[in-house]
């Protein structure tokens, strides 16, 4: 697969099919951890980190075990969901322990967000999309990284807007979640502009 196709996939999953604003994956952290730019950037980087590793590991597992034609005639595919979610949960734990031991500074920056990522549906969503679209390991990792990068962009943008919204005069009923959702809707409209890119 040429570099051009990889780039197309990357731009497609980061901007055109933005994981939050057009596919609605990872809405929980998007609404919950976007109160200021710094924590949003922390959460976003942790997601980039985990999704990239998770796409690589699930890609390996699919290629050599679940999708392997030599094992049970390739009939193990029905285990995808179960295996992937367990692998992701274990992976997050492992990454957390590894960072704590060997890279304390990175751990301090990302540490609090890591356990929250297991229930982030974007991680499982990317792993399943990779299999469904028939991506190989390299393409899968590129797709995973780009998707997570799209998440990082949108959560940081959202946090920036929310910091400004704080000083605005919002009608009583719309305070809190509703105004955040309206903001997200407007951002989604803006991201439609990218659909001309591909």
């Amino acid at each position: 697969m040429g570099i051009q196709e990889l780039l197309l996939i990357a731009v497609g999953s980061a901007f055109v099919n933005n994981v939050v604003l057009s596919q609605f994956l990872g809405i929980c952290p998007f609404l919950g951890v976007s109160k200021n730019v710094k924590t949003a950037a922390g959460m976003g980087s942790a997601v980039v980190f985990v999704i990239t590793i998770a796409s690589f590991v699930t890609g390996l597992i699919y290629k050599f075990i679940l999708g392997n034609k030599n094992i049970m005639n390739g009939e193990l595919e029905y285990l995808n969901t179960i295996v992937f979610i367990l692998v992701i949960a274990a992976l997050v734990q492992f990454v957390e322990m590894f960072l704590k031991k060997s890279m304390p500074s990175l751990y301090n920056a990302l540490g609090v967000y890591l356990p929250l990522i297991t229930t982030n549906c974007a991680v499982l969503g990317v792993a399943l999309t990779n299999v469904e679209s028939g991506y190989g390991i390299l393409t899968g990792v590129v797709n995973g990284f780009a998707t997570a990068f799209g998440f990082l962009i949108s959560i940081v943008l959202m946090a920036g807007i929310r910091e400004k919204i704080e000083h605005n005069d919002i009608s009583e009923s719309f305070q809190g979640t509703p105004i955040v959702l309206v903001t997200a809707g407007l951002m989604a409209i803006a991201f439609f502009g990218f659909s001309g890119l591909i």
Binding site: I27, C28, K35, N80, I85, L124, E172, P178, L181
Partner: protein
């Protein structure tokens, strides 16, 4: 049976997962492009919720405390796989329109939340009814969002034309941004009703209880009641 009806009332009204707890936002926003999709997703989730609540409640004395989360996930993932195949076999059109979001029922906060906060502590029968109540509450939430979006975005309800021919559908409501707008309007409406009730001196429904179920979800801040408080606390830095 009194306790069982109480569980259903609790799931449908008092702790409605969509409007009160604000759990499971991903499918809520993603699949509600039409009323029928909303019902399909709601009922699939209900089926998984009832079965997993039942099994987890049966196994609650066997599963050791330290590995309960992975055990719950395996139980839930197995039922999701079963539902996935049943839908693919018997309702292929619904299966196609729900797509990726069926396997993603596994990571729906509602299911793990109920397993952790109710089914793992209570006997089998109430747990089943808790699943029924929560599932129906979720289905009602999804269907009502689906009806609003389908009505404004396509002029139809359940695929039946209800608007006059002169009505020009606002297509944006069946696209991604419409999901955010409709949910924002519904939550704002709910805030307004709650505030009116509070002014009358009636008992206000308990503020969104995002305790055990959602602790792992990063969603605690998204719960209406707590948000205003923590926001004012967080933003004194200017």
């Amino acid at each position: 049976m009194n306790k069982c009806t109480e569980r259903i009332y609790n799931g449908l009204v008092k702790e409605n997962p969509t409007f009160v707890l604000m759990l499971g936002m991903c499918p809520t926003l993603a699949v509600t492009t039409s009323a029928i999709n909303g019902i399909g997703m709601g009922l699939s989730t209900t089926a998984v919720l009832i079965m997993s609540n039942m099994l987890i409640s049966m196994l609650r004395k066997i599963i050791p405390d330290s590995v309960r989360m992975p055990a719950f996930i395996v139980v839930v993932a197995s039922f999701v796989t079963i539902v996935d195949f049943l839908l693919e076999g018997f309702v292929p059109s619904l299966y196609d329109s729900l797509g990726l979001y069926i396997p993603l029922i596994v990571v729906n906060c509602i299911i793990l939340g109920r397993a952790e906060s109710y089914a793992s502590k209570n006997p089998v029968l109430p747990s089943i009814f808790d699943g029924v109540g929560m599932g129906l509450g979720f289905t009602v939430g999804l269907t009502s969002i689906g009806i609003v979006r389908e009505l404004i975005g396509a002029g139809q309800i359940f695929g039946i034309q209800v608007m006059p021919d002169s009505y020009v559908p606002l297509t944006i409501f069946v696209l991604a941004p419409g999901a955010f707008f409709v949910l924002a309007a519904l939550v704002a409406l709910q805030n307004k009703i709650k505030r009116a009730a509070a002014k009358k001196g009636k008992e206000v429904p308990a503020a969104a209880d995002c305790g055990a179920g959602c602790a792992a979800c990063g969603n605690r801040g998204a719960c209406g009641g707590h948000m205003t408080v923590s926001q004012s606390g967080n933003n004194n830095r200017g």
